[in-house]
């Protein structure tokens, strides 16, 4: 019988929620790393007992924790993220040049094929790679050479928050940066190019032909269809059918196309989920209703999923790394809110229930399906 392990990062620590494949009864772990912001809590697809945590506070900075026994015990690994070479400057909020400064790790993406390889997306935006399970980190500096001097932070900071690895080709990686855009490497991180053709950011970017500067919030890809990427942007839900070489809008009938996370059903590559929030200046769900939207057609036509979700007096947000799916059939979908709830569906999103209601604000949700 399979087990499901939901890895939750919050503003005040991390939790592990565990169930079997029925996904009815859940055990909630004790609070891990109490008091620390857990920006990401993720697991290796190669070794399910290997877990990584990005742990950060304003006082003491960044720690990376690793477990090799499924979360029972933890060890702090390397936390030195040094930019390579002449780091130069990027743009600051006011348009002035600002030196690159490491602040935190936003995303930890263990390799799909190598047990000891893990990627880290950081703020100020850069991509690091470790070949020794997090003990040491090296920047893949080719990324910042793609007009990094023009990159500027979004409201949440200039962060590399999404890392998509091609399951067919370990040399191909797509990353998204707020607010620099989306970039792809085809040579293992040596060289990169922006892949933003078709993205429109009329209010944020005065130059319609600018290839950096789009505020990309999140990307999703189904491993069986790696050439198809879905994007939640700062306004607009987008899709590419050619690994990001070109994009087209699939917002369709969404009540608002502003939001953060996006995910793909693990069994149905054309079924996509978003959780819209009201606007760029109103980061809460519209109309007091928490609604997940699902498209079974790969975009354009969206259906509101509400059963089991609050439909009045609800003003939460769901952050970009706080939506995930399991590998069971029907697909389980999980998300955490700024109000501290973790909701789950065990039926492709048809119905939902709260697994917990009183966590600290949720920053990150990932799911392991353990055979």
């Amino acid at each position: 019988m399979a087990n499901v392990r939901v890895l939750v990062g919050t503003r005040k620590g991390a939790f592990i929620l565990t169930s079997n494949e029925k996904r009815k009864r859940w055990e909630v772990s004790d609070l891990l790393f109490p008091g620390w912001e857990i920006y990401h809590f993720n697991a290796s697809p190669v070794d399910p007992n290997r877990l990584y945590i990005s742990q950060n506070t304003g006082w003491f900075g960044q720690i990376v924790q690793r477990s090799d026994d499924g979360g029972k015990t933890w060890n702090a690994v390397g936390n030195k993220f040094a930019y390579e070479g002449e780091t130069g400057t990027h743009q600051w909020y006011d348009g002035t040049p600002h030196p690159w400064e490491f602040k935190r790790v936003w995303q930890l993406a263990p390799s799909l094929t190598e047990r000891d390889v893990v990627y880290a997306g950081v703020e100020d935006a850069a991509l690091f790679r470790s070949g020794d399970a997090g003990q040491t980190w090296q920047e893949l500096e080719g990324l910042r050479s793609v007009r990094g001097n023009l990159w500027a932070p979004g409201a949440g900071g200039m962060c590399l928050h999404t890392i998509i690895q091609d399951p067919r080709d370990a040399n191909r990686i797509v990353v998204a940066i707020s607010a620099a855009g989306v970039f792809r490497t085809d040579d293992g991180g040596e060289t990169w190019r922006p892949i933003t053709k078709g993205l429109k950011s009329a209010y944020e970017l005065p130059d319609p032909d600018a290839d950096v500067g789009h505020c990309v919030h999140n990307l999703a890809m189904h491993p069986k269809r790696p050439g198809v990427l879905f994007m939640q942007k700062h306004w607009d839900v987008m899709r590419s059918d050619d690994y990001g070489d070109s994009w087209y809008e699939i917002s369709g009938n969404l009540p608002t196309d502003f939001g953060f996370p996006i995910a793909v059903n693990s069994n149905k590559p054309n079924t996509v989920y978003v959780i819209p929030i009201k606007s760029d200046s109103e980061h809460y769900v519209p109309d007091g209703k928490l609604r997940v939207y699902r498209s079974k057609s790969g975009g354009e036509k969206w259906q509101a999923l509400t059963e089991g979700l609050p439909q009045e007096n609800c003003y939460v947000n769901v952050l970009r790394s706080a939506l995930a799916v399991d590998q069971l059939d029907p697909c389980g979908i999980y998300f955490g809110t700024s109000g501290g709830q973790v909701y789950a569906s065990a039926d492709d999103g048809d119905s939902w229930r709260a697994l917990v209601r009183d966590f600290p604000p949720v920053l990150s949700v990932e799911v392991q399906t353990l055979e």
Partner: protein
């Protein structure tokens, strides 16, 4: 031995007691204490000072004998009471940080 008092988060990170004792070669300075702390507890690297610039983290403060040494030169000798172990050196998370 030099006595150091750690804040809660660093104590848990180091899996140590609130007060730790470390060997520090003379002269006893802030830099020498931090070097020894980080050698004894490698998981504390980067938590009190930036690993690249070696500057004190903005929301970390240092106290000795009731005085704030956060802005003191890191290579100046600390009071004798610290050097003899009569008084502990304090690492504190600033109120402004949380």
């Amino acid at each position: 031995m030099i006595r150091v008092i750690l804040p809660t988060h660093l104590r848990r990170l180091a899996n140590s007691n609130r007060e730790v004792e470390i060997n520090v070669a003379a002269p006893i300075t802030i830099r020498a204490i931090l070097d020894s702390l980080e050698e004894t507890y490698p998981m504390l690297r980067g938590t009190m000072r930036d690993q690249t610039t070696m500057q004190r983290r903005a929301f970390v403060r240092f106290f000795a004998c009731g005085q704030d040494y956060s802005h003191a030169a890191v290579d100046d000798a600390l009071p004798d009471l610290i050097a003899t172990g009569a008084e502990p050196f304090w690492v504190v998370g600033a109120m402004a940080g949380g």
